[in-house]
C-alpha cells in the first residue's frame, strides 16, 4: 500500500539542492512515485508504506510534508 503526500520545498539552500532539482531529487527517492508536480518546488507523491520512515527522515530537512487531502463531490 502507498500513502499520498504533498511535499513542498522550504530549504532551497540545502546541499542536496546543489546537486539536483527538487523534482529530480524526489524521483530518486526509493519507494516514491511523483504523481504530479504542482510547481518546480512542490509535488504530490505516493510513498510505499514500508519506505515511509526513511523518506520522511530524508525529506523533512528540506521540505514540508503533509498528508494528501482529498475533496469529495457532493
Amino acid at each position: 500500500m502507498s500513502v499520498g503526500l504533498f511535499v513542498s520545498l522550504h530549504n532551497e539552500s540545502h546541499p542536496v539542492m546543489a546537486e539536483a532539482t527538487f523534482q529530480a531529487w524526489l524521483s530518486r527517492q526509493e519507494g516514491v512515485t511523483v504523481i504530479s508536480a504542482e510547481s518546480p518546488f512542490s509535488a504530490t507523491v505516493s510513498v510505499e508504506e514500508e519506505k515511509m520512515d526513511r523518506f520522511i527522515d530524508a525529506a523533512s530537512q528540506l521540505c514540508s510534508i503533509r498528508k494528501l487531502r482529498t475533496v469529495k463531490l457532493l
Binding site: G4, T44, S46, L68, R69, T70, V71, K72, L73, L74
Partner: protein
C-alpha cells in the same frame, strides 16, 4: 430457514416496450448488482416486500442517468418504469423563480470548478472552458466526475436560460468551467485539495464574480499537521479581498457536519431541500428524504402551501446559510433526456444562478463604469428575499 425461490422480472416503459435496466439487490447490509443491463432479471421472490431485509433497486439503463421512475409492479412480476413527465421537470425552477421572464443576468462572470469533458457537450457549447494548468496537466478524468460537472453546469445554464438564443451575447453572463482532474493512488481516484485550491486561485485571477464549488472536505482541524493552513484559507482570503462570492455545497448526509469550505463565514453554504411528491422510488432522493424524516435535531419536514410536503436533507447547522432545491431535481440533459439529480452539489448551482441574478440587479453604472455590489451587500439582499435556515419557517424559498 425458508426456501429462497427465484422469479424472473421484466422491465418495460410506460408503453410496455422492453427497456434495459440494472438491478441492485440489497440484502441486509450487503448488495449485489446485475452484471449486465437487461430487460429481464432473475431475483429472489421475496423482493415484492420492500422491508428492511430485502430491497430491489431498479435503474433504467441509460448511460448512468435515471430518467425513469417506478410506476407499478404487476402480479406478473413486470416492473413498469415511467418516464419522468415534462410536468415534473423544473419543480425546483418554479419553487425558486417566481417570474420566469426575469432571468437576465448581465455581465456577471460565473466560475464553476468541477469535473468536465475536454470540450463542452452538445447543448452546452455556449459554456467556456478555462485554459488553466490542470486542464493540461496529468491526471485522469473519470466519467462519473465528468457527468457530475456537466449536470452542475447544466443547472446553472438552465436557471439562467442560457443557450436558448433569446438574449444577445452582451446580455448574457459568462460561465467558465475550471475542469479538475483526479490523481490515482492505490488504484483509486482522488481529487486532491491542492488542485481545487489552484483552480480557485485561477478563477479569482480570471475575474470571476461568483465561483461554484459543488464539493467539499470534512472539517477536521485536529487532523492538521503543525503549521499547516486550514484548507482553502488562503484562497478564501484572496476571494474576499477581490470581492468574489464563493458558493459551496454543505454535504449530503444528515449526520454530517457542514463541510469545508461551505462552513466558512465568508462562503455561502448551500444545503438542499426536496419536494416529497417529486421523489422517485428507490432513488437517492428517497433515501435522503427518509433520513430527513428520521432526523431528530429539528423538524426537517413541513407543508408548503404552494407545493405540498417539503423536506430538508443533508448537512445543515453551523455554516449552512440557505437551502435550495437539490433533492430529486430534474433537468433536461444535452441529449434532450430528463435527468434526475440529488445532492447539495446540485442545490449549489441553483443558488449560484440566483445569486448571479441578484448581483446583476444590484450592479450600478457610476460615471460610465460598472460598480459591483460587495459579497456582504448581496448577502443582505438575499436575506431579504429568503428565509434563512434556523428561523421559522426554516425552509428557504426565494421568490424572486
Amino acid at each position: 430457514m425458508p426456501e429462497l425461490r427465484n422469479v424472473t422480472i421484466k422491465t418495460f416503459d410506460e408503453k410496455r416496450r422492453p427497456i434495459k435496466s440494472h438491478v441492485r439487490l440489497i440484502v441486509g447490509g450487503d448488495f449485489r448488482d446485475s452484471p449486465e443491463p437487461s430487460h429481464w432479471h432473475v431475483v429472489p421472490s421475496s423482493i415484492g416486500y420492500l422491508g428492511l431485509r430485502y430491497q430491489l433497486v431498479i435503474e433504467a439503463h441509460d448511460e448512468g442517468y435515471h430518467p425513469f421512475r417506478l410506476e407499478e409492479c404487476t402480479t406478473d412480476k413486470e416492473i413498469i418504469l415511467r418516464k419522468i413527465s415534462e410536468e415534473s421537470i423544473g419543480w425546483a425552477e418554479r419553487f425558486v423563480l417566481g417570474d420566469r421572464g426575469r432571468r437576465k443576468c448581465n455581465a456577471i462572470k460565473i466560475g464553476i470548478i468541477d469535473g468536465y469533458p475536454p470540450s463542452s457537450p452538445k447543448g452546452l457549447r455556449h459554456i467556456a472552458i478555462a485554459k488553466w494548468s490542470n486542464a493540461k496537466g496529468p491526471g485522469v478524468v473519470s466519467p462519473d466526475i465528468m457527468a457530475h460537472g456537466v449536470n452542475v453546469v447544466n443547472l446553472v445554464s438552465n436557471f439562467l436560460a442560457l443557450g436558448d438564443g433569446s438574449d444577445s451575447d452582451s446580455e448574457r453572463p459568462e460561465v467558465v468551467v475550471y475542469p479538475v482532474h483526479c490523481r490515482t493512488i492505490n488504484g483509486m481516484q482522488f481529487l486532491p485539495i491542492d488542485v481545487i485550491e489552484a483552480a480557485l486561485q485561477a478563477a479569482v485571477a480570471d475575474g470571476c464574480d461568483i465561483i461554484n464549488l459543488s464539493l467539499g472536505i470534512e472539517d477536521d482541524a485536529t487532523d492538521l499537521v503543525h503549521g499547516e493552513l486550514v484548507p482553502f484559507s488562503r484562497e478564501l482570503l484572496l476571494a474576499k479581498s477581490n470581492n468574489v462570492i464563493i458558493v459551496a455545497a454543505t454535504g449530503n448526509e444528515v449526520s454530517e457536519k457542514v463541510h469545508l469550505p461551505a462552513n466558512n463565514d465568508f462562503v455561502f453554504g448551500i444545503g438542499m431541500l426536496g419536494l416529497a411528491s417529486e421523489v422517485t422510488v428507490g432513488s437517492a432522493a428517497e433515501r435522503y428524504m427518509m433520513e430527513a424524516e428520521r432526523s431528530i435535531d429539528f423538524n426537517r419536514v413541513a407543508d408548503d402551501p404552494r407545493f405540498g410536503r417539503v423536506f430538508v436533507a443533508g448537512a445543515v447547522g453551523k455554516g449552512a446559510d440557505f437551502v435550495f432545491p437539490g433533492c430529486g431535481v430534474c433537468l433536461v440533459d444535452n441529449a434532450g433526456r430528463p435527468v434526475e439529480v440529488s445532492g447539495t452539489s446540485f442545490a449549489a448551482p441553483i443558488a449560484t444562478a440566483v445569486l448571479a441574478r441578484v448581483m446583476s440587479d444590484m450592479q450600478l453604472y457610476v460615471n460610465g463604469s460598472m460598480v459591483r455590489p460587495s459579497a456582504d451587500e448581496v448577502w443582505e439582499r438575499v436575506r431579504g428575499l429568503t428565509v434563512r435556515l434556523g428561523e421559522e419557517p426554516w425552509f428557504a424559498t426565494i421568490r424572486y
